[in-house]
Amino acid sequence: MDLIAFIDMGGYGAFIWPSYGLSALVLIAILWQSRARLKRSDAELESMRRQGESEEA
């Protein structure tokens, strides 16, 4: 397949690729932000639990 023709998309590449790029960007961003939040809170809970155990000991 001709790569130039694929990127050009019959002259509409300037509209098609930004549609796909923006969709990927927004979806990956919200997934990444959500997972980072979960990891951060998991780590904080774990450190709280350890702290609690060491205080009890």
């Binding site: 019959g10 509209f15 098609i16 930004p18 549609s19 919200i30 997934l31 809170s41």
Partner: protein, 239 residues
Amino acid sequence: MHRFANPTRFLKLISALQPWAAGVSVLCLAAGLYFALIVSPADYQQSETVRIMYVHVPASWMAMFCYSALAIASAVGLIWRHLTAFVVARATAPIGAAFTFLALATGSLWGKPMWGTWWVWDARLTSVLILLFLYLGYIALESAFDDRGRGMRAAAILAIVGAVNVPIIKFSVDWWNTLHQPASVVKFGGPAIHSSMLTPLLLMAVGYTAFYFWVMFVRVRAEFNDARIQARRLRQTEA
């Protein structure tokens, strides 16, 4: 009903479902992209720009699906005083807002080459813009109160009242004159779209739906973690 509200059981369920949602999403999106960009043909009227449909239409469906989920979860939360339902609503709102933004942005990128304009104030486009404002209003209202419970209830009422917009969006292309084309997949008499285009569209739609559940599960788990962290801090200050 109240047994399902048990957060521990709910968390176990969504933790088990999360890898499945992630797997279905990644597989369907990968296959969907292959069909959308490589296998499917150009449209005889819209030429290559029809490929924007494969990211625009699923995003628009999800914008409405997420809002319906938001309104239903809000109603369940208000009526049965389910904390879990409120948490699902809270986790859904930003994902729905993201899909609505994508529906508007990709629609604009499709409108420019096909209609000759980025934007028109017609019924379909305006009602979807209102949907975005409803999501943003929900998110703002939900966090506007010091008392989290009050914020959740106030935002839930907004979500339920705003649900009137969902059928307006769906039928706006039939009720008013618009540049936007009418429904061609979800309609009486079956889809008016060839299978070469329906395949990537449905793959992308399933991929987007699974993606919503994936991210929603992650956000719900983070919400419950945050609540536990706050409860522990409160106990520490009281001790």
